[in-house]
């Protein structure tokens, strides 16, 4: 760690990991509810479990991005963080708000939560992924503004590298597109149209900038390859990602009442979305092959390579599977979407945050890398999580294909619930793979507490 203030990243990473565990536990609960419908009912109904599962994911990834940015920007700018104190205050505000929101989800019915939090004054609740009470959303904006102020001041006073610029652009974009969560028109077509400006333009737009910047940063550190080379790749990748991803928003406009040309624009541009992810994989492997040093943190290198491959498979290949309008006509909102969602979020965003944590955490704890023993355990965690995620994806894909066939293609289509009964075997297998994933998460956490001979930073 080059600058003392980079240490503010640590609480963010720890909180992120805590929420990660919560996310997985709720995932397992709802995974079980797919096959045992009244499991934990009425205490944790399916819709609440789902809300906690997805919201915890988003919040912990945001925590991870913030921690990564607090670590990355000072080092790239070669200066201390503008205000470490502000970063810590915002951390606690964010954490308490997130905790209160989750308690709200679990303690009272959603409609009551909406009433208590004054949703009537400015209605923003009740939409998938944007379920947070309006006051929580306002809190998120305040935290994001403080965070961006802090980092922008740091960025402006220091060295301006391409990596830091791309990261800042991504973070500002993240905050700006979140503002569309406050726009909640009565017209359902318009509502959905702009809802995607948050949801899609986050994960297939500005988040990719954050992903690219973090990956590039870690690759420079672990491979020692020239910054010029890495930055050039970064530029190409983010340009491709932005062009394909932004127009690719059209793949959400096929059936919601938007003009018909979106079926063409959406299909064609989103068919190109795998390209930047493929470039990212090439990039990561290429840089590691050309490495100029053997960095003692081999686990971080493994995470970085894994990010490239899994993001390409999950976001690229599994996204392409159902992105063309004629295919999506049948697969829309089926388990194929769930398969894609799981592997894409894991491969792109979970893994890049874990890459950064893997690289930065030992440095913040005063060593270049963890002991060999700890790294071996961490790599076990990598494989347990990654392989089980591959199986979760495959089982959900199988469930999805069967679902589409029975419910939508067949001459004698079954109802939704009758179809669900037919595919329950795959849900059971997904749940088993989910348990292995949990074991992977626990193994990962255990790796932080394993001692052994360490190399000084």
């Amino acid at each position: 760690m080059k600058y003392k203030s980079q240490a503010v990243a640590k609480p963010y990473f720890i909180a992120a990991m805590g929420l990660f565990v919560a996310q997985i536990l709720f995932g397992l609960i709802m995974g079980l509810q797919y096959v045992i419908g009244d499991f934990l009912f009425p205490h944790i109904p399916f819709n609440v479990a789902r809300m906690v599962h997805t919201n915890a994911l988003i919040v912990w990834l945001l925590m991870g991005f913030m921690g990564s940015a607090y670590y990355l920007v000072p080092e790239e700018a070669e200066t201390e963080l503008h205000s470490p104190k502000l970063a810590l205050i915002l951390f606690w505000i964010f954490l308490v708000a997130a905790a209160l929101t989750v308690i709200g989800y679990l303690a009272v019915p959603y409609a009551t939560l909406a009433k208590i939090t004054g949703n009537d004054l400015l209605p923003t609740m009740g939409r998938e992924f944007l379920e947070q009470p309006t006051i929580t959303k306002i809190g998120i904006v305040i935290v994001a503004l403080g965070f961006l102020y802090n980092l922008s001041m740091t960025f402006l006073k220091g060295r301006k590298t391409a990596i830091a610029s791309v990261l800042m652009l991504g973070l500002w974009g993240l905050a700006i597109f979140f503002l569309f969560s406050f726009y909640n028109p009565h017209n359902l077509v318009k509502d959905k149209f702009y809802w995607w400006w948050v949801v899609h333009l986050w994960v297939e737009g500005v988040w990719e900038l954050i992903l690219g910047a973090i990956l590039a940063f870690v690759l420079i550190k672990v491979t020692g390859v020239d910054r010029e080379v890495i930055e050039k790749w970064l530029y190409v990748i983010i340009t491709l990602a932005l062009v394909s991803g932004m127009v690719g928003t059209g793949h959400h406009y096929f059936w919601i009442g938007a003009p018909e040309f979106w079926q063409w624009w959406g299909s064609i541009f989103s068919a190109l979305e795998p390209v930047p992810f493929f470039a990212m994989t090439l990039f990561a492997f290429n840089m590691v092959n050309r490495r100029r040093r053997e960095h003692p943190n081999r686990a971080a290198t493994l995470w970085a390579l894994g990010t490239g491959v899994m993001a390409f498979l999950g976001a690229g290949v599994w996204g392409f599977l159902h992105t063309l309008a004629p295919v999506n006509f049948y697969t829309h909102g089926s388990q194929i979407t769930a398969a894609h969602g799981h592997m894409a979020f894991y491969g792109a965003y979970v893994m890049v945050v874990l890459t950064m944590i893997s690289y930065a955490m030992p440095l913040m704890r005063g060593r270049a890398a963890n002991s060999n023993k700890a790294q071996v355990v961490e790599m076990w965690a990598f494989w347990l999580m990654t392989v089980s995620m591959v199986f979760i994806t495959l089982f959900l894909t199988a469930a999805g294909i069967l679902q589409v066939w029975l419910q939508r293609v067949s001459d004698t289509p079954l109802s939704f619930m009758a179809t669900q009964d037919q595919i329950s075997l795959f849900y059971w297998m997904r749940e088993a793979a989910g348990l292995v994933f949990l074991i992977g998460v626990v193994t990962y956490l255990v790796s932080f507490f394993i001692k052994g001979e360490e190399r000084a930073a």
């Binding site: 050039k232 063409w264 299909s267 190109l272």
Partner: protein
Amino acid sequence: MDTTINPRPVSAGVEPHLHGDLAIWFFIIAELLAFGVFFVAYAVTRAFNVEAFNAAQAGLNLNLGALNTVLLISGSWCVVRSVQAARADLQVQAVRWMAVALACGVGFLIVKVIEYRAKFAAGLTMDTDTFHMFYFSLTFFHFMHVVLGVCVLTILLFKLRRGAYGSHDVHGLETGAAYWHMVDLAWIVLFPLVYVMR
């Protein structure tokens, strides 16, 4: 793989090598892929609606399209001459050729705007029919590339005037030139496909 192709002296032309930066070639491949997918989609859709497409296509202004083709091909040739002049350290010529190339690019944009205005005045939009959806999508997508290309040529022109390129270094110049040729190439396929072929 060599991603940092250093400025090469002109004399080192014995072995075949990639002109311009490797990164731009990845970019060009991706761009051509985008155009390619669009072209294939057009061709396949047309194959199922030949008569409707032919009827709608008859409304296109072939002369303006042909004029634009001439402008782009001439522009590409001027860029080639500019690069050759720069390699031979003929700075004045290099600047002149680049200025003419830039004028061709700007000319293309003006002609295209005239063409679009006529279409809008006739009440045609992307929603008119499938042919016009493709016509507007493809030409506008290409139009945006020409806009970017014109920006690139402008930068190259200023750098040439400052003497940034010569026998010592044509790397950046060749990189920008490669992009401009791609814009040209895409139009050379687009024009016959959308305007001419019946």
